[in-house]
């Protein structure tokens, strides 16, 4: 299986790579956002959109990739990648009053998602975000699958296609079940 990891100039991308190295069925290609070749994307089986600084609007090619490929390839967005998926499906982002960088929090899985297969309903995750997804304008095609106690959206999935977004960082050492979540995505 050929996996493309799009790196939005982040400093946690290789933590994701390090987790993926454990899955022998997975051949990983890391491409930084600035070097994306849109014509080569069709050659990959699955796509992961990395975290990164800024907001989805700073990365128009990432929004285009989501638009062009969500029906044909399993796609997982992490943090900024998750926000890009939500923005592409209509949502606005809001700047949080209480920015959470390097914070571990418990989330509650509220709706079934293949990503959370064999993961307890309450689990601890690591957070690095100052923006969050506003559910108001979110497409009805997208379901919210996990939230924090204060109802911040922590994960989403598409109702018809294997498109997943997670606000937290599965690659962080703060996330208890992160490896299992990435394994679930690889084994889709």
């Amino acid at each position: 299986m050929k996996l493309l990891l799009i790196d939005h100039n982040d400093s946690f991308t290789y933590n994701i790579v390090e987790v993926l190295r454990h899955f022998t069925n997975c051949e990983i290609t890391v491409t930084t956002y600035n070097n994306i070749d849109l014509n080569s994307i069709k050659n990959f089986d699955k796509i992961i959109l990395s975290p990164g600084p800024g907001q989805p609007k700073d990365y128009p090619n990432t929004l285009k990739i989501i638009r062009d490929f969500y029906k044909t390839k399993p796609l997982l967005g992490i943090c900024l990648g998750h926000q890009a998926i939500c923005v592409e499906f209509g949502s606005d982002l809001y700047n949080m009053n209480d920015v959470t960088h390097g914070i571990d929090k418990e989330i509650k899985i509220t709706d079934s998602s293949k990503l959370f297969n064999a993961i307890p309903e309450n689990t601890t995750v690591g957070l690095y975000h100052s923006w969050a997804v506003d559910s108001k304008k979110l497409s009805t095609k997208i379901s919210i699958t996990a939230t924090t106690k204060d109802n911040t959206i922590m994960s989403v999935s598409h109702k018809d296609y294997p498109l997943f977004g997670i606000q937290f960082h599965p690659e962080s050492f703060l996330t208890t079940d992160g490896i299992k979540m990435l394994e679930n995505f690889i084994n889709l």
Partner: protein
């Protein structure tokens, strides 16, 4: 020396087992490498955990330095810039530093002779560093890094508990651990956090302070000695003195600090023929037009408080004894 030449030399010396010392500035523009046997000729002296060509003074002599701190108003301009970028999601953690003019009767060589630290460097009478912070160590084909984040005056009641329970410090440390796991994963595999937030005491001319560190390990490819020059470049500048995410954070640092850091927060290290030990160039004094400048700073996060960070920057102006 150009980057390509530096990499070529490092790779050759490391592969051949030739002991050498390397120094790199924060901006990665002035790489320096020199065989250990030629250091004196170049007016470079070092000591790593007591080993090297730089002696430790046997008699204790107190070194007095008188800092003339940067005005808090000017610090605030940089601090506010950084804080607003963090709230906008452009950085999670940023190490903000400033130069402080100091006055002392002692020369750079007298100060480095007296200062006690695991990593000491005297570089061509241009700067000295007496650093407590290890950058990377390589033994066999294991690579280790020890990011240091979190400082407190040891005399504060319950200092250790206060420091370890502090939420802001914990979040900041979490971030640096994830960042350094990432950086090691760029050059090695099987990344492990061996020790998380351990506390060490450092004696200074102003009393003892406590510092918090973590230890992270990775496994290098068997042929790492052939490509150590490239490995170094991938890891630099060090995460603990820049921040995360690194590229955007470096851009904000350039903007907020207004000047180059030079060798401050660069690294120096020694290859002894089989292993590597190296330090981040902090606790640093440079000579500029016959005046001495002490450089210091600290990690800024969304939870940082102006007065606290300003004080921490000043607290780090000391000579360890």
């Amino acid at each position: 020396m150009k980057k390509e030449k530096f990499i070529r030399k490092i790779n050759k010396y490391t592969a051949n087992g030739t002991p050498y010392l390397f120094v790199m500035d924060f901006e990665l523009q002035k790489p320096f490498v020199c065989k250990i046997s030629n250091l004196e000729k170049n007016n470079v002296f070092y000591s790593i955990k007591g080993v090297g060509n730089l002696e430790q003074s046997k008699s204790e002599k107190n070194i007095f330095i008188k800092p003339k701190p940067l005005n808090k108003k000017n610090y605030k301009i940089g601090f506010d810039t950084v804080k607003s970028e963090i709230l906008k999601g452009n950085s999670y953690l940023l190490n903000l530093t400033f130069p402080t003019k100091i006055k002392t009767k002692n020369s750079l060589s007298e100060i480095i002779y007296q200062a006690k630290a695991d990593y000491k460097l005297f570089f061509k009478n241009k700067f000295i560093s007496f650093s407590p912070e290890s950058f990377i160590q390589i033994k066999d084909n294991k690579i280790y890094t020890f990011p240091m984040k979190g400082t407190i005056d040891a005399l504060i009641p319950d200092a250790k508990k206060t420091l370890l329970d502090d939420k802001k410090e914990t979040y900041e440390h979490n971030t640096i651990v994830d960042l350094m796991r990432n950086d090691l994963a760029m050059v090695s595999t099987d990344i492990k956090v061996n020790r998380f937030r351990y506390v060490e005491t450092i004696k200074t001319s102003k009393g003892a302070i406590l510092q918090v560190s973590s230890e992270i390990e990775g496994t290098l490819p068997k042929n790492w000695k052939d490509t150590f020059g490239e490995i170094l470049y991938k890891l630099l500048p060090a995460g603990s003195i820049s921040g995360a995410p690194k590229p955007k954070t470096l851009e904000i640092i350039r903007h907020a600090e207004q000047g180059k850091r030079g060798f401050y927060t660069g690294v120096f290290g020694v290859f002894d023929g089989s292993s590597v030990d190296s330090a981040v160039l902090i606790r640093y004094i440079e000579k500029k037009k016959q005046k001495l400048i002490y450089r210091s700073g600290g990690g800024i996060t969304s939870k940082s408080n102006l007065d606290f960070e300003y004080d921490e920057m000043l607290q780090k102006i000391y000579i360890p004894k």
